[in-house]
């Protein structure tokens, strides 16, 4: 392709077509572009277009296409042809930086990405002048250009944060430091000066602060692997300025947005990260600066508001304090009683409060709320950071910290008692505080396993948790209800069993609560209690103890699935499964109703399976009902088949891939329950099970093998007599399986069942082939697994 106007025109037209919503126009255009991208000059045509096209949309489109082209083709893979000719590579590298810097932001971003992709391959050896070219722009004074350079540098250098130390990497970093560290430092100083001269110019400040953020990020990358000599020598400059930026505030930079972090927050947050990096890795050198940062960060915390936009900053800042306070040689910074009190009062307590945003999530986004609260995916939240700080402080000051907080807990509980409907949030904070103070070690399976001895958990439970749960109105103060249930859940190993037994009917009752969080927590708490182990590894709570509650438990659990928002609630379904498993034969009287409800649910969700955990527990529950019932009464298998086969047929016919393996599993189970000859309804299905299309999906293989084994066990003679023509198909499945290294063991399971159960004369004629296949496999791809099995 020549660099001609005609080609530019053609390319413009095709690019335009790639934006067409109609696939009939779009797809061929995309195909065309792909077909010509190997031609010389293609990338240069794109660069020309993104610079000079008359239409902005073409410029943007060309820039995106260019970046994707670079992403796909720039890397030279060994033994593969070079996909971009050398002269194009040279031309791209020569032009891309100035082009990026002179482009509007939208295009700049694409080109900056492209530069970092190229840089990853070519920098520094094959692109020696990139750095000088970038550094020279620092002097331009044009912050649009400077930010472009900084952004590109950031994307080039950020890999230093996670790659392993190596000679190659460190040589590169050294090279970068030599060329970049001093200009970056000068730029940092100059930018800060400009910030004060432009302190009253909002738009200038925004640009300058964007630069500062990028500079702070570059600092992090360049200092990550080790403390470079240059930065050690210039620590004073950097740290003094970082420190003063932490304390800086400017009305013009405050944003109205409550959610999105503003430039000021982002900058301070990055500075906290930088300080934390130095505190962790370069402690010796950073020691003189550390106390100042502790004070500044602490003041920052005291003065920062509750809005969501500050969350990242606050959690980073608290985490910094948490990591410092547990170091022996910084202990003294915290040990003063006034300091401790003020950290507790001004940093920890406010960040444990239930905020408007939490309340909103509790009501409107319960799924997310539960995930964060129960599953600990709360690493970045304020509450979590505050908890970590409590634990960090407890390392050296457990007594005083517990003392201070006990006072707070009591006063907050008193506030609540004065006027519950107004002050319920105080109680929430009190419970949260007790929880975080008391828990030293926690696991999903056992809840809290080590508790702080200074907190009397049972007393708190009896005096402050149970009364809430005993209240007649399940829907009042849902947050406190959820707190109470969660308390039972996490302290289940600390609270004595008799108290747990008292709680069980309360929990069952709360399955009816309207709040999704509350009934979900109730289900989850029951599920956890049912898994607890007592002596002899038997369940702590026995089926006998549960006898009075079986009916109401099952009723409420299934009713909870009909509450708005919980139709596919995995916690409830898991609780159902766990209840079956605990209650065993006591559920039999309720099976007819249970199995109807489960099959209806199955039918409903099979239209669009979306919750894999829910589905899994649902099938588990179905299996448990079958097992428990048929154990007592094998004849009952027929009624299950009656109830389930209709839905199963539908699932198989509609090819609901998520459910098919489960269906085979349940069928194997049912078939195994039969004591006699294989029923004809199963035989009718046999040929279909051998269809290759089923065996192409790896997820189907284990359950299908198991199902075929069940067929062979129960009906080998029927197969030999009535379906002898299917034997080669059956062996074909075996052959297919042993051909694969991943599935060969499944092939052996199948073969084993064939040999064991089929009448010998029906397979004699295939014996030789079987051995040949085995030896062939042995010869062609010998694996340890294959030889051993």
């Amino acid at each position: 392709m020549e660099l001609s106007d005609a080609n530019l025109q053609t390319l413009t037209e095709y690019l335009k077509k790639t934006l067409d919503p109609d696939p009939a126009i779009r797809r061929p255009a995309e195909k065309f572009l792909e077909s010509v991208e190997g031609s010389q000059n293609y990338p240069l045509l794109l660069l020309t277009l993104l610079e000079k096209s008359q239409e902005n949309v073409i410029k943007v489109c060309a820039s995106v296409t260019f970046k994707n082209y670079i992403k796909r083709n720039w890397r030279i893979v060994e033994d593969e042809p070079n996909k971009i000719c050398e002269s194009d590579r040279i031309a791209i590298k020569a032009n891309i930086v100035p082009l990026m810097l002179s482009s509007p932001e939208q295009i700049q971003k694409q080109l900056s990405d492209a530069i970092s992709i190229i840089g990853r391959e070519d920098f520094p050896q094959k692109w020696p002048d990139l750095l000088t070219e970038m550094v020279n722009r620092f002097q331009s004074g044009d912050f649009h250009v400077i930010n472009g350079v900084l952004r590109t540098a950031h994307s080039l250098f950020k890999r230093y944060r996670h790659e392993f130390k190596s000679n190659e990497l460190w040589s590169e970093i050294k090279l970068v430091l030599d060329a970049f560290a001093l200009p970056l430092t000068n730029l940092f100083k100059a930018t800060i000066e400009l910030c004060s001269t432009h302190a009253n110019d909002a738009s200038a400040l925004k640009v300058l602060f964007s630069s500062l953020i990028l500079i702070a990020k570059l600092f992090y990358s360049l200092n990550f692997q080790d403390l470079p000599e240059f930065f050690e020598d210039n620590m004073e400059t950097w740290m003094t300025n970082f420190h003063s930026l932490l304390t800086l505030d400017n009305k013009l930079l405050q944003t109205d947005d409550e959610e999105e972090a503003g430039l000021l927050e982002l900058l301070k947050s990055q500075i906290c990260d930088n300080a934390a990096l130095y505190a962790q890795k370069y402690d010796e050198e950073f020691q003189p600066y550390l106390p100042r940062f502790v004070t500044a960060i602490w003041n920052l915390l005291v003065t920062t508001g509750q809005e969501v936009k500050y969350d990242l900053l606050v959690s980073n800042a608290i985490q910094f304090l948490a990591s410092v306070c547990e170091r022996p040689h910084y202990k003294h910074l915290f040990e003063d009683q006034n300091t401790l009190t003020s950290i507790c009062e001004k940093v920890i307590v406010p960040n444990m409060e239930f905020r408007a945003a939490d309340e909103e999530a509790f009501e409107d986004n319960s799924e997310e709320y539960i995930r964060r609260d129960l599953e600990g995916s709360d690493i970045d939240t304020r509450r979590r950071a505050a908890c970590d700080l409590v634990r960090g402080l407890c390392k050296f000051f457990e007594g005083p910290v517990t003392g201070i907080f006990s006072g707070y807990v009591n006063s907050m509980l008193q506030e609540y008692a004065k006027n519950p409907s107004v002050n319920w949030k105080h109680k929430d904070a009190a419970i949260y505080l007790v929880t975080s103070l008391a828990s030293k070690a926690q696991t999903q399976k056992h809840g809290i396993t080590q508790a702080n001895e200074l907190v009397n958990l049972t007393e708190f439970f009896v005096n402050h948790i149970q009364p809430d749960l005993k209240s007649a109105t399940v829907n009042e103060f849902p947050v406190l209800k959820a707190d109470g249930i969660k308390y039972i859940m996490i302290f289940r190993n600390q609270v004595p069993k008799e108290q747990l037994l008292v709680s069980i009917p309360l929990l069952i009752n709360h399955l009816q609560a309207e709040s999704i969080v509350v009934h979900t927590y109730a289900a989850h708490a029951l599920e956890r209690l049912f898994t607890m182990r007592g002596t002899n590894n038997a369940t702590l709570i026995t089926a006998a103890e549960m006898a009075p509650f079986v009916e109401v438990l099952l009723t409420n659990l299934f009713k909870a699935l009909t509450l708005p928002g919980s139709s596919e609630n995995e916690y409830i379904m898991k609780a159902i499964m766990r209840s079956f498993s605990l209650l065993q034969e006591s559920i039999i009287p309720y099976i007819p109703s249970v199995i109807t409800q489960l099959t209806q649910k199955l039918l409903a969700v099979s239209k669009n399976p979306s919750k894999p955990h829910f589905n899994h527990y649902m099938f588990e529950s179905i299996c448990l009902s079958i097992r428990i019932t048929c154990k007592a009464n094998p004849e009952a298998v027929g009624s299950f088949e009656e109830a389930l086969f209709l839905v199963f047929t539908e699932i198989l016919q509609n090819d609901v891939q998520e459910f098919i393996p489960y269906v085979f599993q349940v069928m194997s189970l049912l078939l195994e329950m039969h004591k006699n000859e294989i029923p004809s309804s199963y035989m009718a299905l046999f040929p279909h099970l051998l269809q290759p299309v089923l065996w192409e999906r790896t997820g189907n293989i284990p359950p299908l093998v198991r199902l075929l084994q069940a067929y062979l066990e129960r009906g080998a003679s029927t197969i030999a007599s009535a379906a002898a023509d299917k034997i080669p198909g059956l062996l074909g499945v075996f052959q297919k399986l042993i051909a694969s290294k991943a599935n060969d063991h499944q092939g052996f399971y199948l073969l084993n069942s064939i040999i064991e159960h089929m009448p010998p004369e029906s397979v004699d004629q295939y014996r030789k082939q079987i051995f040949i296949l085995l030896f062939q496999r042995l010869q062609s791809s010998k694996t340890t697994k294959f030889i051993k099995s």
């Binding site: 403390l227 050690e232 962790q280 690493i379 498993s581 588990e620 084994q709």
Partner: protein, 516 residues
């Protein structure tokens, strides 16, 4: 990549494939450094700025007059190149004085004057000891500069002149030559080997005697240490064999500086391949080094520890020699030393012992190293913690199941898991590998579930889960691997006892009756 030269016995270990990551590591992993040169290292080159020498020496009496009138550089050139011996002396003294001033000696300018060959000539003026001495001093100080500067002195022909001055009847001249040669040797392996080839060693060693004054002996020891220093290549074996017996004697000296530099010399000799370590081990010096490792003076302790640390990068047998010399008994104190560099070096040493066979690991346990190790993991400075992680990683690679149990009992898990938050990908990966090793041991004991709970209780699980988002591919995969293997099967673990062995979704139909 960690460097390990002696992979043989590691191959016998159970965890094949892990061998690459946890091996004996020589001290320098990466030759490119980003940091400032280390402050705790021995000095490569030294400038002679001592004033007292001048006072001691009556022949320098006329200095006082010269101090008043400092000649210009032009005058110096003229005088040095002239024939007037007195002027030559004055100019040489003036040069020496310029080069001995505390701040910014004008080495470059002096070199540019082109007077070095002339100064070298003066070294040969046996008739004029004062001139010889002043020239030797001036050249010593030029050679103490950068490699450029040293080269100027060597290219001026100074090496043979200085070597012959070692045997000067005047002790102060001989001592100044020792110093100059030390600076030249310290420049690097090339000049070091030039000196050795010129037979610098015999006359140098001849200077060591019971009557040698301590100050002189310090200089000799330092120069000897520079002759042992540097790798790529390391000094010729026959030279080493000549120096070693003298070092053995010097290590018994009572002067701390002499001992310190002798230790440095030994540490250089052991910083190399096993053959070189063997040569040192065979002198029987290890017990003395271990004793010195316990010396309260940092200048002695540091190089002695370094030397022992180097020895244990060697073969199992060589490592055993260090253990038998009592190294493990001293290490607990060093792991708890107030200086973090000592902690770090001690942990590095221990990590290489932990890379050995299980009977050596057993000695680590017996000598009570686990408690200080756990303390270091918990509270040490970052660099020391990193080395401590290596100890644990190597330990779990080679230890028996019982030894691993002992390690876990000593409380290693909590600080180890806390370190998963560290900002260093390699350390994180090592910890993850270590956790996998711990699980392998737990599996053998049937205690997998217990370990799972322990890891979760100590907040390890959420950290490992979080690492599944790590940018580094190997870290991410290692974390994922642990989660998938040990933490994703909650259902089966919980359900199995209740539904019998063939839990429905437990797909493993493990029938063992195959006979293929």
């Amino acid at each position: 990549m960690p460097v390990r030269k002696h992979g043989q016995h590691m191959k016998l270990f159970k965890n094949k494939g892990k061998d690459e990551t946890t091996l004996r590591r020589q001290r320098v992993e990466v030759s490119v450094e980003l940091r400032k040169a280390k402050k705790d290292e021995q000095i490569l080159k030294r400038r002679n700025i001592s004033i007292h020498l001048k006072e001691e020496n009556p022949s320098l009496g006329q200095d006082r007059a010269a101090e008043i009138v400092q000649p210009s550089l032009e005058e110096i050139v003229e005088a040095v190149n002239g024939e007037d011996t007195q002027l030559q002396l004055l100019a040489t003294q003036a040069t020496r004085r310029l080069l001995s001033r505390h701040k910014d000696p004008p080495i470059n300018q002096i070199i540019e004057l082109g007077i070095i060959p002339r100064m070298v000539e003066f070294l040969g003026r046996a008739d004029n000891a004062t001139l010889q001495f002043e020239a030797a001093w001036a050249l010593t100080n030029i050679a103490s500069g950068t490699s450029e500067h040293t080269r100027a002195v060597v290219e001026g022909g100074a090496i043979p002149a200085f070597i012959s001055l070692l045997s000067s009847p005047h002790m102060h001249i001989s001592e100044q030559s020792v110093w100059a040669l030390g600076n030249i040797a310290g420049d690097g392996p090339i000049y070091r080997d030039v000196l050795i080839a010129r037979d610098v060693i015999p006359p140098l060693l001849a200077l060591v005697s019971p009557t040698t004054p301590v100050g002189f002996l310090r200089n000799i020891t330092w120069t000897l240490s520079n002759l042992c220093r540097n790798k790529n290549p390391c000094p010729p074996l026959d030279a080493v064999l000549k120096i070693l017996p003298v070092l053995v004697i010097l290590l018994q000296h009572e002067d701390k500086d002499v001992i310190s530099d002798s230790c440095w010399a030994v540490s250089y000799l052991t910083d190399g391949c096993n053959d070189r370590i063997q040569v040192v081990v065979e002198t029987g010096i290890l017990p003395r080094l271990v004793e010195l490792m316990d010396c309260p003076d940092l200048i002695v302790m540091t190089p002695a520890l370094r030397a022992i640390g180097n020895v244990v990068t060697g073969t199992d047998q060589q490592t055993q020699e260090a253990i038998s010399a009592g190294a493990l008994a001293v290490l607990p104190r060093l792991l708890r030393h107030s200086k973090s560099v000592i902690q770090k070096e001690a942990a590095w040493t221990l990590s290489n012992i932990a890379a050995g066979p299980s009977h050596q690991i057993q000695q680590i346990i017996t000598c009570g190293l686990l408690p200080p190790l756990v303390e270091l993991l918990d509270k040490g400075d970052f660099k020391a913690q990193k080395e401590a992680v290596w100890v644990v990683a190597n330990f779990t690679t080679g230890a028996t199941v019982d030894q691993v149990v002992e390690l876990v009992r000593s409380g290693v898990l909590k600080p180890l898991l806390n370190l998963l938050l560290v900002k260093d990908s390699k350390t994180i990966l090592l910890i993850l590998d270590t956790i996998s090793n711990l699980f392998l041991a737990a599996e053998k004991l049937g205690e997998t579930e217990k370990l799972c709970l322990l890891v979760e209780e100590l907040d390890g699980l959420e950290k490992i889960e979080d690492l599944q988002n790590h940018e580094n591919d190997l870290v991410y995969r290692a974390a994922l691997d642990i989660i998938e293997k040990y933490f994703s099967g909650e259902e089966n673990i919980n359900l199995e006892p209740q539904t019998g062995q063939d839990g429905l979704y437990d797909f493993s139909v493990e029938k063992q009756d195959f006979n293929f």
